[in-house]
Symmetry: C2
């Protein structure tokens, strides 16, 4: 190609393509979970597939995850453990979890195909043990499969949908089952004949003057190469937690609170910019996942979080990411987890957590934290009095986690911005149809362009409603939709 | 022109323009305050100007406003009333008011030119009386000029910048000085020779294949006409509070809480779509203004707001829009304003407000509202005890507004979603340079395209930090920048 400066934000003009260096049916940008699943289903539909991955290996951010899929509707693992979770019940949870901007059509498709998708994952070789692990875990420390992984059993979700565990983790002993998931899915895509280009950055889309997408320019072995996509291009390149400029423009709060982005390192937003370059639009860009995982030990869930006014602000048995969302909204993000001698522990995820105050009475802790006199004492008196009766009239924490905090010494664990770095990733992205078509500002599909995974805005689109496994569940399922939609395109050469 | 379906989301191709029906230097879309000020300064710079306004008259949403401009830096009105507000102090307030995504360059330009802009407004004929009205008013009920119109005197803003009143209202007796403002500014634009096309909808931009903007297609007298802009097009068409689809995509919470959009009726987002159609990008689209004005009577500021847990959640002397932002975030948006016999009144803006509970004791009110037993009583005991000493250690309400609520009967005014409809408008919009250039995803200007007012994202970009007068101040000042930037363009025909 002639010398040219490429940027993902500007599509290269089809008319300026002198020759195609590579031709295929479906180009997939990114070999994380969305890209792998798009490749598998596009190949199964008979399309030629070429995947371009900027990293030197497949896996994306999914391989750093706990390998959990948020599934329901009565999976074998759910049934074996005695949980009844009909599709309609699963759907009700997802509707609440989607928040004020929930995408009902997307939820319907996902909920009604959850069982089939679960089987599909097994068919691709993802191992699931079928066993249930009781308790409250961010991810299984064992090789068990089914765990509680969101706010299912917590108010107000338990009022919207009958509680059921829905975290289906791949079989792997210890944390990090995401690696097993990606080994299997990426391997399967390769077995099925997807052409994989590693260490290959897609520089921009190639589009005609009507913004229809016909291919990409990719840097392969240091050379800019034109790649024709006869059927379509699938963006599966991840979110934008690594892109400071985009965070400033779209999610300044995420930028402000981020201590530790959860990413394989290439969530640079380039796929979103490519979508914008051909008239795609974005949605929910301000939304993000944030957490400061505070259990195990599960005894810490029996503690209470308070802000700088000594007030509680959430039921502590909600999903740890929901707790973190509420925490960052408190004045200055200054919050503490209060525990007594019976419940004390250090979060396994962050044992270096500072102990901000210790006392033989809650009045001492209140004074040491510099809280307004009497407020923490009141909060604690009310909490303990009701907890002793198994009730939490203010925040509706479940009885299982209610235990009066009355055994000295008492302690305050620091969960403020300076205490415990927040883990984040972005939830906003391109506006798409459930089947993967990227939509322009008229609500019409951009011809030839599909997107799935965190480059798009999917099922998880509200930080307050996130549950572990939603991103893998969404990215794998909607990655498949995008791959199949692209593979089904018939268009004149 | 040949038959064609136009949509603001797709630019018409320059190559397809057979002939120009109208030619001018600068096309301005929208004859609200941003458009009028853009027209004035573009004319003063010597450019030919044509304004297209979809309504049958000039005025836009600004004419429904209180006609207040948020200005500082030591205006004559501030000095006459004895307030010292150096530019650096004014700037400090605006920086906090901009929130986590504050645009420092924009704040710098605005703060440092505030005095000159104020003089400019006077030069255009906007009348200001120069007098100060003490107290707390959403807008002056008299023809006075200077009022406290934000959170200047309230925590935490008073800690960031020395308090000073900055609402400069045009002279007009009673509410609605926006009409005076728009009569003068629109009249001035006409006097200066701007060509005004009323009842004329701009259908889309006209752009070349590199997305440079060369004009617009406008429907004039029922006919689609091509309009050439030799220098540039200024989008000044307002926000998107009237566009349900855009609210769903970008600001679902605004859609959920809106009872009464504050709009002249044409804030349909079409200007934002036009910007997107040529590669512009958006920012802060989820942010919006919301209020349920609860004073006058000012005695109500001495009441306290509580949520469904009986907790206070804000210092009640903060700006009414900031109070509303906090209110809508409380569980279910269920909040009440609690007053005693000495402070009782009905908000002048909404005298039909429901009285949700009345009692001879706060315990009775607590029970009637169905709050958790003892919580409101505790809240009130703590508040009253400290208020008697002139302090509010929890929320830092200023002593002026602290008065124990101890004189029965006691009442709870309903401020929930069903009680009092929220007034809203959008704050997100196109990403622009302070001088008005619309920016694409690379951060580069879209040639020939400028934007100001609520079609762009300006000084007010954080609902929690809004003050009355910020939108008029921003729209008038940055409208001028956009008009002058467009007028200064030199390009080959």
């Amino acid at each position: 190609m002639s010398p040219h400066t490429f940027t993902p934000a500007h599509a290269f003009h089809l008319e300026d393509v002198a020759a195609w260096n590579i031709e295929t049916d479906v180009v997939i940008i990114g070999f994380g979970i969305a890209g792998a699943c798009a490749a598998i289903d596009a190949r199964l539909a008979g399309a030629e597939v070429a995947i371009f991955e900027v990293a030197a290996a497949a896996g994306g951010s999914a391989q750093l995850s706990g390998g959990e899929f948020y599934l329901g509707g009565g999976t074998d693992a759910q049934r074996a453990a005695g949980f009844d979770d009909p599709v309609e019940n699963f759907r009700a949870y997802l509707m609440m979890a989607g928040g004020p901007g929930v995408d009902e059509a997307r939820v319907d498709l996902y909920a009604s195909h959850s069982l089939a998708h679960y089987q599909w994952l097994k068919d691709q070789g993802v191992p699931f043990k079928g066993t249930y692990l009781a308790g409250k875990w961010p991810e299984p420390p064992t090789d068990d499969e089914l765990i509680w992984c969101g706010s299912e059993a917590a108010w107000p979700f338990r009022a919207a949908a009958r509680p059921a565990p829905r975290g289906h983790a791949a079989q792997f002993t210890g944390r990090g089952a995401g690696k097993v998931v990606m080994d299997r899915l990426a391997g399967r895509a390769g077995q099925l004949g997807a052409q994989v280009h590693l260490s290959s950055r897609v520089l921009c889309l190639i589009a005609d003057r009507e913004n229809a997408v016909h291919g990409v320019v990719a840097r392969i072995d240091g050379e800019a190469r034109t790649v024709r996509a006869r059927k379509g291009v699938v963006l599966a390149s991840g979110g934008f937690i690594c892109n400071q400029q985009m965070l400033r423009q779209y999610a300044p709060l995420a930028l402000a609170v981020t201590g530790m982005p959860l990413t394989g390192g290439n969530d640079d937003g380039s796929g979103i910019l490519m979508g914008l370059s051909v008239g795609g639009t974005v949605t929910h860009m301000e939304q993000f996942f944030v957490t400061k995982t505070f259990f195990p030990p599960a005894s810490l869930v029996k503690g209470i979080f308070v802000n700088a006014r000594g007030q509680r602000f959430i039921n502590e048995d909600a999903y740890h990411g929901r707790v973190a969302q509420y925490a960052i909204r408190q004045e200055g993000g200054r919050v503490w987890l209060l525990v007594d001698n019976a419940t004390f522990g250090r979060p396994h995820s962050f044992p270096a957590i500072p102990i901000a105050a210790v006392g033989e009475t809650w009045a001492e802790v209140e004074a040491e934290l510099g809280l307004p006199e009497g407020e923490l004492q009141h909060t604690m008196e009310v909490y303990n009095r009701h907890a002793a009766a198994g009730a939490d009239p203010l925040f509706h924490k479940e009885p299982e986690w209610l235990q009066p905090l009355t055994e000295p010494p008492f302690a305050a664990l620091g969960f403020g911005p300076q205490d415990y770095p927040a883990v984040t990733f972005t939830l906003g992205g391109l506006q798409t149809m459930p089947k993967g078509e990227v939509l322009d500002a008229t609500g019409a599909p951009v011809p030839g362009l599909y997107a799935a995974g965190r480059v798009a805005c999917g099922i998880p689109r509200w930080g307050d409603g996130y549950s572990s496994g939603m991103s893998l569940g969404d990215s794998s399922f909607f990655g498949r939709q995008a791959g199949r939609s692209a593979a089904a395109v018939l268009r004149a050469g």
